[in-house]
Subunit: 364 residues, 2 copies
């Protein structure tokens, strides 16, 4: 967790991040666009643009002649000026993506991981995969780091994997530290679902409201974007949404409680009733809406994406029924726009965010 004191360097980072967010979501933009979006004065925007241009992050791309008056200079993000690699570590696979400064996914590879893989085996797989990727476009000096989205529980602030569910060799592994040493790159570690929701927020820009990413993939998890930032909770353990009870008298779950969303959903799947499984998930999603009042719900996960329309329809129907009752609520439900890459891409974007996103300003 980067601690930033509230000094002028924070102002610089903050306003630069605002302009970068505009550049990421609009293909091209001009000074007036930024003025409108941020409330800064035109002169201040000019200064920010000058700084970003010096750093090679944006460049001018012609002028716009709308009618009367001096033409406005049009700018664009230099997407290929910075890259990050994102990794999605699942139980049996390692997915790697290469993401540029604009959030575009350039390469995506999946390779199997050994059953019950060890930290060393993961590092080797990462090493091979990253070398292959870095070789493609000659990224020397433009690669900002590696983001890892992984099964929890883990400790995001300290880069520790506490006890990854279902993996025997992952107790209190200082993954960030050993990966940085082994790979020679800055490494950022986060829960898979939190990385995923970051990807969705990146693609939607600063106007993205409170949102959740629902991931069904050997378990059910949720990633949250609340108040303009990822919500990780007190111990980086937010999102164990599959282990919320929806049936007080339901079957016993592996977590020890009865009638968790995950076990009820699982039984429906085993019974072959995908439609019912989807409706159960939808009940859980509406529970989230009641609790958190979200503007967006994004669905993803390998298991869910095997029946995308069934799940999308069930969740949309349940959410809309709920909104109808209230009369004025509105929540958009969608499948992940990045498909199966969403976790890995989000992990990469978190790395880019550390450099070009809103600086953290933790009130101690």
């Amino acid at each position: 967790m980067t601690r930033v004191t509230a000094d002028v360097s924070f102002l610089r980072g903050y306003n630069e991040a605002l302009v970068m967010a505009v550049g990421r979501t609009a293909r091209t933009f001009e000074r007036s666009t930024v003025v409108e979006a941020t409330g800064l004065t035109p002169q201040a925007v000019s200064k920010v643009i000058a700084r970003l241009t010096t750093d090679g992050l944006i460049r001018s791309a012609g002028v716009r002649r709308p009618g009367i008056g001096k033409p406005a200079v049009v700018y664009e993000l230099v997407a290929d000026s910075r890259y990050a690699i994102g990794a999605h570590v699942a139980r049996r696979t390692l997915r790697l993506v290469l993401v540029d400064l604009a959030g575009t996914v350039h390469h995506s590879t999946v390779r199997p991981l050994p059953r019950d893989f060890t930290p060393e085996q993961l590092l080797d797989a990462l090493s091979v995969g990253i070398d292959a990727m870095a070789g493609i476009g000659d990224l020397r000096g433009r690669l900002t780091g590696l983001g890892i989205g992984m099964i929890g529980p883990l400790d995001h602030a300290n880069g520790l994997v506490r006890d990854a569910h279902g993996l025997r060799h992952w107790h209190d592994v200082a993954l960030r530290e050993i990966a940085e040493k082994h790979l020679g790159l800055p490494v950022h570690l986060d829960k898979d679902v939190t990385a995923g929701i970051t990807a969705e927020a990146w693609r939607h820009g600063a106007t993205f409201g409170d949102a959740a990413l629902i991931m069904v993939e050997s378990g059910i998890g949720g990633g949250f974007w609340l108040g303009g930032a990822a919500h990780r909770g007190a111990h980086t353990n937010a999102g164990e949404f599959g282990h919320t009870v929806v049936d007080l008298n339901g079957p016993r779950c592996v977590c020890g409680r009865h009638g968790c969303l995950e076990i009820v959903h699982h039984h429906a799947i085993e019974a072959g009733d995908i439609a019912y499984a989807a409706r159960v998930l939808a009940v859980g999603v509406v529970n989230l809406l009641q609790t958190l009042d979200l503007a967006h719900v994004v669905l993803t996960g390998a298991d869910l994406l095997q029946h995308p329309q069934t799940y999308l329809a069930a969740v949309t129907e349940a959410v809309e029924a709920d909104a109808r009752r209230a009369g004025w609520l509105s929540t958009r439900v969608a499948l992940s726009s990045l498909g199966a890459d969403v976790i890995a891409a989000g992990a990469a974007m978190q790395v880019l965010d550390q450099h070009y996103g809103i600086p953290e300003l933790a009130p101690i």
Copy 2:
């Protein structure tokens, strides 16, 4: 919603708010205390303290002679330099409190409201109550405003009551506007539970982590403190936690779904089984923990506070059982430290926060 651009005035407000938070949580403090708590340089802290002293918000309170060296100047908040009045509007009662800059509740009054009261009736009750309170200590010039914590749904940003549950005359009432006109005071409107969690956060200071306030009072609601700020959701409708399904095959709830926490809890109460009702609530609380990973859970509400120990025991037991399974999670469960005043007090603190709290810095 106050929009603040990231200019130097933000820095001033931010760092002043940090110092004020220190002053609120520590009875006395000195320069080195703030340096340690904020990471600012001693010189910067001196400047902030000078500004706050000029405004009459803090003052020196002697010196500390710990041993060798020049004595350190000790400061304290001037608690009686600013006040705010907080109102808790419930279905049948209006509670008013007077809160000073340190967060201390000075007066607390409860008066009945007519059944199905109208906006005019509420305004009259507010007017009478505020006059009585303002007369007590001659608050001329020191009263910063009125905060109202009320049943939802409402629109916090625009000060509208959309459709207060169970009150017929409250559809799209511009309460903030008409109250400001009627009372001649700045007015801040928020959901009751959100005001409540603000009070808890105030009393605990800047180190207060992610938290929820659970309120059982003719319904079950939740207020959330996430990432150092109140979480209101996309439509100020977060916290309808009583309307999350915990029993898929349960009885039909007024909200139209089946097996909501609220209806299951209500049935247990009606059957006279308080202990079971408390355990049902505890299931809901653990659901929240799984979803949001909270550091604190605070219990309040008129109905809950009729059996405080029963609820506290049940929730504590459930939370601790959950933590034991994980092995490294920890969540503190407590009854509201302000008792029945918590909602009104929090509403008042929100008013003070607008002046002396962390300035908002909404991206876009």
